[in-house]
Amino acid sequence: MTTRIRVGVVRFPGSNCEQDVLECFNDPEWSQAYSVQAHYLWHQSGHLDPSIDWVILPGGFSYGDTLRSGALASLSPIMRAIHDHARQGKPVLGICNGFQMLVESGLLPGGDQRAALQPNRQGAFLCENVSLTVENTNTLFTQQYRPQQVITLPIAHAEGNFICDNNTLQRLEEEQQVVFRYTGDVNGSMNQIAGICNPQGNVLGLMPHPERALTQTATHSADGQALFQSVLSSLYSRVVSLV
């Protein structure tokens, strides 16, 4: 099988969800249908191989959440290469701690705007399935969802409380950068924001774990599948059209 799509899953000291993400791409149906191969990328590498199509920042406790969750990871050597990758319009996905890294690095919300993921309103670590609305199905990551589809994904975080200034919040809503929204108040996030993308729509960050909702057996939800398939089918059709 010729590999047509390469996915890079970045590992930081303290990452603990990278294996789950890598495993997604070992699904026999997907690797068959999309000719996809996933690799680990070590955070210290200042260079991202140009053959990497899609970069994923997984969940965990990078740097033990020292300073602020994702703050030190956002300064790792590989992040500069990821900024370049994003600038070229290539997909970047940040899950949970990965979302925190994208926010700390400024890749999200993007456009010189800043945000933060604060401790949950309850002051507690939340580990549960939550209900989300897919607000924007025009992105690379959400094409295979139905507009306003209500899905279930698991969350597992203590710092997922999304905050930004009012101007930024207005921009996010107006520009349709809010991609996933909790259907109720889960952790105190402004406007119940669960996941956002950058203005160009190629960088997505979300607190819930789509890689833990691929089959109904583990978390009683397979709603994470459509996210991965949206990206894979989009990348596959690009590659195929070039051949």
Binding site: P119, G123, D165
Partner: protein, 346 residues
């Protein structure tokens, strides 16, 4: 926005100022007049203005190179003129002393020429009628003499930085920097800069070997000729070139304090406040005197820097990125301390 309100020529004791062509600049003429004892003693010396312009140009130039902002913009058309950035002056003289001389000895009963264990910084209110009296920091705060954007700490760090640089430069010419006076002000963008001038008029300089005065004291005490003294000083400095690279960095510990912005709901602080209010009995009654507990972060950052002001710039940068996330936190540099005392700088 602080700007100079100078509309026409202002003539002080040592300099004449008038608005220059470019916005926010002043045309400065260094006068040949020398005064002492609040104007009681007065003489005119041909060439004094040009000499002091030259000293100011060289020393402000050195400080600018070291990253300390000054009012110096450029030379003027004549040897005694210059163009300055217009400043709204802070009415305080900042004096740094390395060796006890003059009024300090009388005030505190010290033997003249006692070397201080570390530089001391003193403040004097600029007021001719009152004779520029000493003013303590708490009075400066209580009388709101500083613009809101400036702290006395910043003025102190700036003054100690000037001291370290000037002391090293003069030591290369075997000259002791006994003490000196600085004035500061805000430019039109609100940034603090050194103002006035830097010349032997406002410093006490002593030959390290003979103890001879190389400053305006020769005029004040009538012990020498001002122009000869100033010219000899200039020659001596020209013969002993010195560059900033010769100033060895030393260790400074800066402290950055990061706290939640006032209007941000901080679940940790809220939890901490409520728990302490409800569970810790400080008084005999049920009423808790605790209003708020805010968990803050304190980072002690040690840097190798050439002077306080350089350490301060770096710490400010770190405070903004990455030590705080400005969306939810405020960060400030709360102190900068030189860690190792030193003798004469090399």
């Amino acid at each position: 926005m602080p700007t100079s309100t100078l509309e026409k020529t202002f003539s002080g004791k040592s300099k004449q100022l008038s608005p220059a062509e470019k916005a926010h600049t002043l045309h400065v003429t260094f006068k040949n007049d020398a005064t002492a004892f609040n104007g009681e003693k007065h003489a005119v010396f041909e060439g004094k203005g040009a000499l002091n312009r030259r000293f100011t140009q060289q020393w402000f130039g050195l400080l600018e190179e070291a990253g300390i902002p000054t009012c110096w913009a450029s030379e003027g058309d004549r040897p005694e003129t210059a163009i300055y950035h217009a400043l709204r002056m802070i009415p305080i003289e900042v004096v740094v002393r390395n060796v006890a001389q003059g009024s300090l000895c009388k005030r505190l009963g010290l033997t003249p020429n006692t070397v201080l264990s570390q530089p001391m910084v003193e403040y004097f209110l600029k007021d001719d009628a009152l004779g520029d009296p000493a003013i303590p920091p708490s009075a400066i705060q209580a009388l709101n003499l500083l613009p809101a954007s400036v702290t006395l700490q910043q003025l102190e760090w700036m003054a100690l930085s000037v001291n370290r640089i000037l002391q090293a430069r003069l030591a290369a010419a075997r000259i002791t920097l006994v003490d000196f006076k600085l004035e500061m002000g805000l430019d039109y963008q609100g940034a603090v800069r050194l103002g006035d001038e830097l010349s032997p008029d406002g410093c006490r300089l002593q030959c390290a070997q003979t103890g001879a005065s190389l400053d305006k004291d020769v005029f004040r005490k009538g012990t020498g000729h001002l122009i000869e003294t100033y010219q000899a000083l200039a020659n001596r400095l020209d013969q002993t070139p010195w560059s900033l690279s010769q100033l060895a960095p030393t260790a400074y510990e800066g402290v950055v304090v990061v706290q939640s912005r006032a209007n941000i709901l901080n679940p940790q602080s809220r939890t901490l406040t409520q728990t302490l209010q409800q569970t810790i009995a400080l008084t005999g009654s049920d009423q808790t005197p605790i209003r708020r507990v805010d968990a803050q972060k304190r980072f002690a950052v040690t840097v190798q820097a050439q002077h306080h002001w350089q350490a301060y710039q770096w710490l400010q940068q770190l405070a903004q990125e990455p030590l705080s996330n400005p969306v939810i936190e405020d960060a400030a540099v709360s102190s900068i301390t030189q860690l190792y005392s030193e003798g004469t700088p090399s």
